[in-house]
């Protein structure tokens, strides 16, 4: 039995469908991210799980409890879940201690036990010594920690995060990412994390559920999502990608296939395809390798560097091969200059065939 199960969740506001038949499960102790651009329905889904938003249709189970059944929803205070809010929602009229102890006090836990549990959690999030500070006297990062402490101290069945890092500055955000992951690993709490930041989702999650326009587009491990995007949207939203229109020309006995690009150039991919099908090729910029003149093998191309930007750790290049322009990331040591010729190689394992929903039938180009 999974810890959380969402079945055919639909949320409609008038004519707008914010969440459209979304179903997924989260296993005990798993950390799952809902990732997607703003307005994709990820936060609405999360708020339905918390009971803060009512569903138009669908069921949500937490453990064995049916907590949402269409518009009939159990009140948020009776769900045994807790949440870290985007705005932290640290109560300004209470101290750090009072903020953290709030949920335990509503449960009427004995005072000495509250003191021990709050102290323990505050130590865990690194706020020991700040117990008597007020919410307004804390920095953004500290407020964030209070919000986390307040959510975990009640030992919720399910921990929800609503873009908790988006109000922090870049440096702090990076650090809090790792702290949150570590905390989650240590506590082993089942967590659902909402974010629009793909690198955040990649670093933190066991599994990512990618959403767009109210629907689930793809779900899988961060690696799956990056290396095997199943749609143009997934390829573009997660990481950078060169997306090329192509047509499958051949399939080979080893399961690999050949694809023809718009200008007739042929590439080999280790993925299988249906001959004649119009597809998209997804090639990540870092998978375009410069090679020396003697190299032989598949997917070798002659190219010209058009524009080069030096970024320290890498060179961002815009290269053309035939009529096709590609973005590539290359090591700076190759000392490439704009206008120079080079040979590149794309490993067939890195030529990903993506079904092209938008392509019309007929020859590409």
């Amino acid at each position: 039995m999974s810890k959380l199960s969402v079945r055919d969740l639909v949320v409609r506001y008038g004519d707008v469908t914010a969440v459209d038949r979304v179903s997924f499960d989260v296993a005990e102790g798993e950390f799952v991210s809902l990732l997607g651009p703003s307005g994709c329905g990820k936060t609405t889904t999360l708020r339905c799980i918390a009971g803060l938003e009512s569903a138009t249709a669908g069921q949500i189970h937490i453990g064995d409890d049916l907590v949402t059944d269409g518009p009939n929803a159990r009140a948020p205070e009776h769900r045994g879940v807790n949440m870290v809010f985007q705005s932290y929602a640290v109560w300004p009229h209470m101290t750090v201690f009072d903020n953290t102890a709030y949920g335990l006090r509503t449960k009427r836990m004995p005072k000495p036990e509250i003191a021990t549990r709050v102290a323990e959690v505050l130590r865990l999030v690194g706020l020991t010594g700040l117990e008597s500070r007020y919410g307004t006297e804390l920095s953004g990062g500290q407020q964030q920690r209070v919000a986390v402490a307040r959510a975990v101290v009640t030992a919720p069945r399910l921990l929800l995060f609503d873009e908790p890092l988006s109000n922090l500055d870049a440096g702090l955000r990076e650090r809090m990412r790792f702290e949150l992951v570590e905390l989650q690993r240590r506590l082993g709490r089942t967590s659902v994390y909402v974010t629009h930041d793909q690198s955040e989702a990649m670093v933190m999650s066991d599994r990512i559920i990618l959403m767009n326009q109210g629907r689930i587009v793809q779900e899988g491990s961060p690696r799956d999502l990056y290396e095997r995007p199943a749609s143009r949207f997934a390829a573009e939203f997660v990481g950078n990608a060169n997306l090329l229109q192509a047509r499958v020309t051949d399939t080979h006995p080893d399961g690999s296939s050949s694809v023809a690009l718009a200008d007739g150039m042929t590439l080999r991919s280790t993925m299988s395809g249906t001959p004649g099908a119009a597809v998209l090729l997804c090639i990540r910029p870092e998978n375009i390798e410069p090679v020396t003149g003697e190299t032989t093998g598949e997917n070798l191309l002659e190219a010209t560097a058009e524009r080069i930007s030096y970024l320290g750790a890498s060179l961002h290049c815009e290269i053309t091969t035939g009529t096709i322009t590609l973005r590539a990331e290359m090591p700076p040591r190759i000392g490439l200059r704009a206008g120079e010729h080079l040979r590149i190689r794309i490993d067939p394992a890195n030529v990903v065939i993506v079904p092209d929903g938008s392509a019309m039938a007929g020859p590409p180009g």
Partner: protein, 560 residues
């Protein structure tokens, strides 16, 4: 750009504000230590009046009573305001737009006319409610007595609920909804969350609302003066009026009581400002515009709506029905039960020359005061916020200062200042009083508007070669148009319904509708008073309708 302007403009504005705002207060203080008027050659300096007013019993009793009544009024208004604001912003109560409009409506009506209506409804012997109760239910005692202390407190509270409601509801809308959601997720219920999170978070706003209403209540003249004449419940503002209108007339004593009221207001406004700055501190980072989960009222729906209905009945429906009843019947206590309908009252009143004069006066004041007030307010806001002229802080302080001065106190000061000038006795002395009194509203609305107009829009105009004046005219004023209209309509409403300063400054040539209503009521002619009250309400109604539907002013927001 000339180098002279930044000096000339603030100097002119400073001088104008000094005359308009500071001088009347100064003259009031001078008046309180004189034995006679300024023109009286035998008048000399004396401390007796101040000593009397500040240390002797009947005056101290009035002071304590005014404070006690105002505290109760403000307490009741704030509690009702919090409850109504919470219902509107946090629950699934039906018909919220209508409910909110009804709650705010008394703001655009005259409290004086409301008090007059309640006198017609609830005076112990001849009040409509009591007469009907006697006739139909055989009541031997009056069921309602608006002239009792309780009656006065409740009716004052009724008309101050909108002020409390607006402050509290805008604060409830500004705070981060996640704070309450976090409380729910931590296991607290609706009541627990309201008491332990919502109320404490809006506490500074609530305190500032309390002091705001308290100051307004302390300076209120119309309601206690209308209702308390029988019960003789003394009230500071009423005492000021009595000292300068009832034998033995003593303008010095009137000014001395004015100083008492002035100090109370200054203290109240200081407390209000401290609380509002604390309230701003509590406004935290807010997430995207997620609507807060609305609390389902379920079985509470009916009582909640009943509360609103009772309020609307008491503040609007019953009073105006009573006024209409008095306008169109032969209204005498003997024949109340089968009072015949008639147009005599209306035709009689409209035929009277003093009525036509007062309509004319009211319209002059109603056009001139808002126009001058908004022009001055906007000029000040522009000079302070955009030109950043020298002495900005002083100018701003002076512009906001009248908020601490009740109308009747301003009236006293203006009286002492202009008594010897030819302006005194004309409608223009009222215009001066109202421009000064309502300057803070006009200034603040103008300032907020300028704050919302990105100064880059003006800088772009300047870089295109436009002068300051051209930029102000073509860019700033155009963009600030909605704010200008809002301010104009608000000051129009305030000016048309004002009575406390108008009554102190009234003479035979400058009677406005509110003063005429008062005069009729003073002669005991309730019906004529009702007709004039109705006329005044019509004029206010025209203003609101023009503002709302022609100029598309969002009056709910403006009043906040």
């Amino acid at each position: 750009m000339t180098t002279r302007r930044p000096f000339l403009l603030p100097a002119a504005l400073g001088l104008l504000l000094t005359i308009l705002v500071l001088l009347p207060i100064l003259f009031m203080f001078i008046g309180s230590v004189r034995t006679g008027g300024l023109a009286d050659p035998r008048a000399h300096f004396t401390m007796t009046k101040l000593a009397m007013v500040y240390t002797t019993w009947p005056y101290l009793r009035t002071l304590l009573q005014t404070l006690a009544v105002s505290v109760m009024v403000s307490g009741i208004a704030c509690c009702s305001g919090v409850l109504l604001a919470w219902l509107v912003t946090r629950t699934d109560m039906p018909g919220k737009t209508v409910v909110e409009t009804c709650i705010i409506a008394p703001l655009f009506l005259s409290p004086f006319v409301g008090a007059l209506a309640w006198l017609i409804l609830g005076s112990p012997k001849s009040g409509l409610i009591n007469v009907w109760a006697r006739a139909w239910f055989g009541a031997t005692q009056p069921v309602i007595n608006v002239s009792s202390a309780t009656g006065i407190v409740l009716i004052m509270a009724l008309f101050f609920v909108p002020y409390a409601y607006l402050t509290v509801s805008s604060s409830l809308r500004a705070i981060d909804p996640s704070m309450e959601e976090a409380s729910y997720l931590n296991g607290a219920g609706v009541f627990g969350t309201a008491v332990r999170v919502t109320l404490p978070v809006i506490r500074p706003a609530l305190i500032s609302a309390f002091f705001f209403v308290f100051v307004l209540a302390c300076g209120t003249f119309a309601i206690p003066a209308t209702l308390a004449r029988a019960a003789q419940l003394p009230f500071l503002a009423v005492d000021i009026y009595l000292a300068s209108n009832i034998f033995p007339i003593d303008y010095g004593r009137s000014a001395a009581i004015g100083t008492v009221l002035f100090w109370i207001s200054v203290m109240g406004v200081t407390a209000y400002q401290l609380a509002s700055s604390a309230a701003r501190r509590f406004v935290t980072v807010t997430a995207r515009g997620y609507r807060i989960r609305l609390v389902p009222l379920r079985a509470w729906r009916t009582p909640a709506l009943a509360l609103v209905v009772v309020y609307v009945l008491a503040a609007i429906v019953l009073p105006y029905l009573a006024i209409l009843f008095a306008c169109f019947t032969r209204f005498m206590s003997a024949s109340l039960l089968n009072a015949p309908w008639t147009l005599v009252n209306v035709t009689g009143a409209l035929g009277a020359p003093e009525v036509m004069d007062s309509i004319e006066n009211t319209i002059i004041v109603g056009l001139a005061a808002p126009t001058l007030c908004v022009t001055l307010g906007l000029t000040l806001a522009y000079a302070i916020r955009r030109l950043k002229v020298r002495g900005s802080r002083f100018l701003e302080y002076m512009a906001m200062f009248p908020i601490a001065v009740p109308g009747i106190v301003f009236g006293t000061g203006i009286f002492w200042t202009y008594l010897l000038t030819p302006i005194y006795g004309t409608v223009w002395v009222l215009v001066i009083a109202f421009v000064a009194s309502y300057l803070p509203f006009a200034y603040r609305i103008g300032d907020t508007a300028l704050l919302q107009i990105d100064s880059a829009l003006e800088e772009a105009s300047a870089l295109c070669g436009a002068s300051h004046l051209r930029t102000a005219r073509l860019i700033t004023l155009k963009l600030a148009r909605p704010a200008v209209l809002t301010a104009w309509i608000m000051v129009f409403i305030f000016s048309v319904r004002e009575i406390s300063a108008a009554i102190l400054l009234s003479s035979s040539d400058n009677v406005v509708l509110s003063v005429l209503t008062w005069n009729y009521l003073d002669y005991g002619d309730v019906q004529k008073a009702a007709v004039i009250g109705m006329l005044q309400t019509l004029l206010l109604g025209i203003g609101v309708v023009l503002g709302r539907y022609v100029f598309r002013v969002r009056l709910n927001r403006a009043a906040a």
